[in-house]
Amino acid sequence: MTIKFDNVYINDTGTVTGPYEKNGPLQSYFDKSYNDFYFGLKTWEQAESKLIEDSIDILLNKIGRTRFDIDLHISGDLMNQLTSSNYAASKLGIPYLGVYNACATSTEGLIIGSSLVDKKIIKNCVCSVSSHNNSAEKQFRYPIEYGGPKRKTTTFTTTGGASAYLSSDKKGIRIESGTVGSVIDMGIKDVYNMGAVMAPAAAQTIYEHLRDTKREIDYYDLVLTGDLGIYGKKILKEYMETEYNIKLKNYDDTACMIFDLDNQPVYAGASGPACAPLVTYGYIFNKMKKKEITRVLLVATGALMSPTMVNEKMTIPSIAHAISLEVIE
């Protein structure tokens, strides 16, 4: 399902990261970075919540508004019960919608926000996401200090918070349309190969977006997937060709961009809901503002994985939502 938006713009963004992102190749594009995983707080869960709060503080400062000027806050993260978003929202006091689509949460939030702004139901909204390496490892995998062997296909959860301010003021980057993906299950059970789980969802969403908008893949200067990683990227390219006969040329994956894959211990690349927006809001938007690229299709991908279901030998479903971003002419 593709929704066309006539009048929605990402006016500004706020990004905060942890230490690994700070040492990565995109360090200069983030608004703020921390050197540790606690940010002066007692637990990683509280720290993750602070990532959202900080990114919104930075955002509100940039646009010169207070929280009372914001109509709606849409937020999501990986923690059980959306803890990080909920606790950040409890401090902000803005009307709030919590959303979850794993690592596709960022574009999910943007599509919901854009729809409401475009139909003039609300004047503006803030969409935020967060992920924290240590809190995610603790919840989904092993204790942080446990050094179990990791496979090459394992991804490394991004630590960061990213917020975007959406309104109908003609400023920043335009959200031209959004495609809501459907959940796909290709029978993969391997929790250490999330790229393989999510690639078909990304492929289907890209295909449906192009079909609904009657566009060719070349229409976009860049197609960006969320967090497929090195191997997921290869799978997607081949899958797109064999299944939909679409050849991805101007294509990259944010999981392969945020870290230095050769020198940082991140295995197949990054993951986490914050990965795609951190790369897009900083690095990609900068390129767009310089008009090096004008049209970008951002396809955030999420593995809807539950450790309980995996233990119960179930396969892992996945989803992807796409938004089409354009430079304002």
Binding site: P143, M186, E243
Partner: protein
């Protein structure tokens, strides 16, 4: 695309793990671990005059302590990650699993955190250790008469 066809595609793009290399590293580091254990055992039995049987217990306790301490210092996970089975099959791996879980959950309280979750990883080792000890002990009793 059908699921089995997709699985083939995934397998094609999934890198192979270097089993030979990992095995060699585990063999060497595990061997060194054994040498260290033997060294501590000799140290206790010869220099501290502890009977060898008892010195074995002290040696194990020492290794557990080292494993736990280095886990707390925050770099033992990198060693285990590199040495793999060489470090997590010996008693150090068990200590490491317990300690890392305890460190993660200590913020959730003494009883509800450490107490409830310390055995999250190591619990399986204990359960199956006890069960297999029982089964093999029984077999030994039946076959060899104790």
């Amino acid at each position: 695309m059908e699921k089995n066809k997709y699985k083939q595609l995934v397998d094609k793009h999934t890198p192979k793990e270097n089993r030979m290399y990992n095995g060699m590293i585990a063999f060497l580091s595990g061997g060194l671990m054994g040498v260290l254990g033997q060294f501590i055992l000799q140290l206790y039995s010869y220099y501290l005059d502890i009977p060898t049987k008892e010195a074995g217990t002290y040696m194990i306790i020492t290794l557990i302590f080292i494993g736990c301490l280095l886990t707390c210092f925050g770099f033992f996970d990198k060693w285990v990650n590199f040495c793999k089975a060489g470090l997590f099959i010996p008693i150090t791996g068990f200590a490491h699993a317990m300690m890392s879980a305890a460190l993660d959950y200590k913020k959730e309280g003494l009883v509800t955190g450490i107490g409830a979750s310390m055995f999250k990883l190591a619990g399986a080792v204990i359960i199956f250790g006890v069960v297999s000890a029982y089964v093999f002990g029984l077999l030994r009793l039946i076959i060899f008469g104790g």
